[in-house]
Symmetry: C2
DNA sequence: CGCAAGTTTGACGCTGCTCAATCACTGTGG
DNA sequence: CCACAGTGATTGAGCAGCGTCAAACTTGCG
């Protein structure tokens, strides 16, 4: 599979080789960005749609007093903003959490791709819906889960998402390029409390870490303890029996 | 303006009379529902797109232990799920917070409307983007605002949304058909603490309530105190100077 | 080797939760 | 018309989860 973007979309549709070629063509112009840079800032009206080919990014907002809330993690294959051309301005920032390769596609080009390849269009909308579902689940965590289940649930979610794009290795290990503060800002917790919670998870034999590598030692048990049910990630855009009839 | 749905969409586009007629046609078949009924349940795959013509509804999820998180309020004119046909299942419930009139539109009919009236299609996507922005702001509240600013911010948001669809009267009063528990479940707080917070807001002369009528006595001050900036509601789908060139 | 950024740990206290009792309001049946 | 029940609002007491502050330690990087 040519690149992360195509790999991700394939989750939502059975593409023809022409579909794939179209996807790869629009996402071939990539630039390398550094950790800490902002792809887009609040209030801007970007010209292009950005696609993450490698590395992590986040949507985030900053309050008056400097507190920050990360609203989404973007991982390889994710589109940063499909709808750029419809908005009058960005209501949040998109910042890079690691070094990353980013493709920049003029909105018109993406729209024309969607016109010519309806399966691609459908896959893009599905992926956008999956993002909405993710966002709802983050709200449930922030609103109604305690620190322990919040952290556990988030780790399960990340592992599942990374698995889908082939970024979890045979041992179940994956790169997690997040500082504890960034994780905290995504969960609505303080960095100190995230630290204590990770320590506890480690102590209970649920996770193993060194450096920026992470492994969930007992994924099913952690999922159980933290109420993680991957259904909301919509692992497939539509029921298997309809895959062939609905597309095209 | 014929109905709440048309009134809402008009915010995002300059429609022709034919556009309006199309909108009204698809949303004319409405049924009355009672408070407490669920329009759609988690796990279902609904056939039709639902549109709220009057009354309030909520998207919500329930955790294993019975705790509930409301992820969105739907008010007159809102579409409950534009994307129903793309999903393999609902990842949340939609429940009615008050008696309501609900139109039920076959997905195919809505799609055909969108094909024939591109301004309507565009308005629908804009409204869907505005919902995403709302959802992000709820996450910011749940994650990073204290109880006082959380409640104040939510009240400002509700007032702004209701104003946009003409449901705030000359005195600034509006119907708020929410119990304190429902408000709490939307904010990630306990009902008791929401009660104390409302009492404080009342004590500071920021709000006035009786029964289910609400009035923000000093809207600007409350907005200021709670960090409410309506920009995220995307009051207009695109900049004014581009209204005429982008549509159609 | 040395600085900067990130992690870890402890102490302390506040915000917001839980439990529980009381009060107010609305609708119901006798 | 009134007693009664059920739902929601209000208030108090007690407490715990999590935040803040601060210091020590570790790791990454030039």
């Amino acid at each position: 599979m040519p690149n992360a973007f195509a790999r991700k979309l394939r989750r939502f549709a059975d593409f023809t080789p022409e579909d794939i070629a179209g996807i790869v063509r629009v996402s071939s112009q990539a630039e390398t960005w550094r950790r800490g840079q902002d792809l887009v800032r609040q209030g801007e009206r970007p010209e292009n749609v950005r696609i993450l080919l490698s590395g992590w990014a986040s949507r985030y907002k900053v309050l008056d007093d400097g507190r920050r809330q990360i609203c989404a993690f973007l991982i390889p294959g994710d589109i940063c903003d499909l709808h750029v051309s419809l908005l009058n301005h960005m209501d949040h920032n998109i910042g890079l959490l690691s070094r990353a390769r980013v493709a920049s596609v003029p909105a018109a080009e993406l729209h024309s791709l969607m016109e010519r390849h309806r399966r691609v269009e459908r896959a893009l909308w599905c992926s956008s819906l999956a993002d909405d579902a993710l966002s709802r689940e983050w709200l449930v965590s922030a609103g109604r889960r305690d620190a322990f289940t919040r952290v556990g649930h988030r780790l399960c979610e990340i592992r599942t998402r990374l698995t889908e794009v082939g970024l979890v290795d045979r041992n179940g290990e994956f790169d997690l390029p997040l500082s504890q503060e960034e994780l905290a800002d995504s969960l609505g917790l303080s960095a100190v409390h995230v630290n204590r919670t990770l320590t506890r998870l480690r102590g209970e034999g649920l996770i193993e870490q060194n450096r920026r590598r992470m492994r969930l030692s007992q994924p099913e048990r952690l999922a159980d303890l933290s109420g993680f049910d991957p259904a909301y990630l919509h692992p497939c855009g539509w029921p298997a029996e309809e895959r062939s009839t609905l597309i095209g």
